[in-house]
Amino acid sequence: MDSVHDLGGVEGFGPIPVEADEPVFHGTWEGRVLGLRFLMGFWGRWNIDGNRHSLEQLPPGDYLTMSYYEKWAAGVVNLSVEKGLITRGEVRAGQPDADAERVTPPVDAAGVLAFLPKGRPSSREIDAAPAFNLGDRVRTARNMHSGHTRLPRYLRDRVGEIVLHHGAHVFPDISFTMEGDAPQHLYAVRFDGREIWGDEAEPGHCVTADLWESYLAPAD
């Protein structure tokens, strides 16, 4: 979707806000939010793509002014209501509904610590052969949809070169709906700075992004 999260190349921002000796968490609440959002994912009602999409759907002004963990807090509440794990009334009251069934958490401390070193690989085996080879020149899609996608706006309708083939991976544009992994071949595609930004591009730079096969067509 064309929202404000898609920030690459947007002009008008100031200096990078570097904080010396930054702590891992600014206040204990940030860590609690990280844990809550992480653990609620174990209910299996959404996946990483749905998680990202929940943040993209925040109003643009909020997206730019809320801190990272404020966005995470909003995202987990919005998803939990949308997927029926909690109700709006419970959020408003700050406690479970009187008739709410008490459930058992899907993962405990030992379980989540055992999960971390494994993670959730997005690679999948597929029968289809890759459509592109290293060195091929490809043009990215121009058309876009209003769901979740990982083709950034600044790389649409641009010509680049395939520099890595990562194998097949879960396709976010479908995965976010929980209707399947729909894996496709995934490539690192390199774009020259002038191809993206035109004559005013800084000299001597390129941008490489990881793009799924259906975002790409032969350039020539």
Partner: protein, 209 residues
Amino acid sequence: MTKKPPHDHSHPHTLLPSDPALRAKAIETLLVGKGLVDPAAVDALVDTFSNDIGPRNGAQVVARSWSDPDYRARLLGDATAAIAELGFSGMQGEHMVAVENSERVHNVVVCTLCSCYPWPVLGLPPVWFKSPEYRARVVREPRAVIAEFGLELSDDIEIRVWDSTAEIRYLVVPQRPAGTEALDEVGLADLVTRDSMIGTGLAMQPEAS
């Protein structure tokens, strides 16, 4: 008679307290109260990300690649497996690629669409990495952005920006500083900063002895 309730379509999060700490507390109280989350599991995650997972992990990987040519070859060939050799793997590092700096090429990593970051080797990202400023600017004016970190790269060095748009996570392998021949891996790892593994810095020079 039907009457449309006010704010019916507002995002549920707007129903929470406005103070972030109170908001987090309210969410935890509700989720734990319903049995949706085990608070001890939150404790475990906070402890792990505060104490066990951070850029010292990545520094060990870089130091090993500087001192062991066979390891370097494995890292550049299959970074996920090479990093797992040192015991680092998993969430947000399931698919790793290592990109090496040279005299002519400097790599820098960003996630313009969200905040993707290689957790097993670098820990959680700093605020600046997640900021709109960095995400918007580094793909368009990488030389100017890197200069803000105090690193002036000459125009004959090509800058390669890697935008983490999929589940592939990139680790920059900075150049080994001159004058470090006598250092062992532990000493070398001390020179490897977080920013040098993102690409907004270089490895530190050893202190003159």
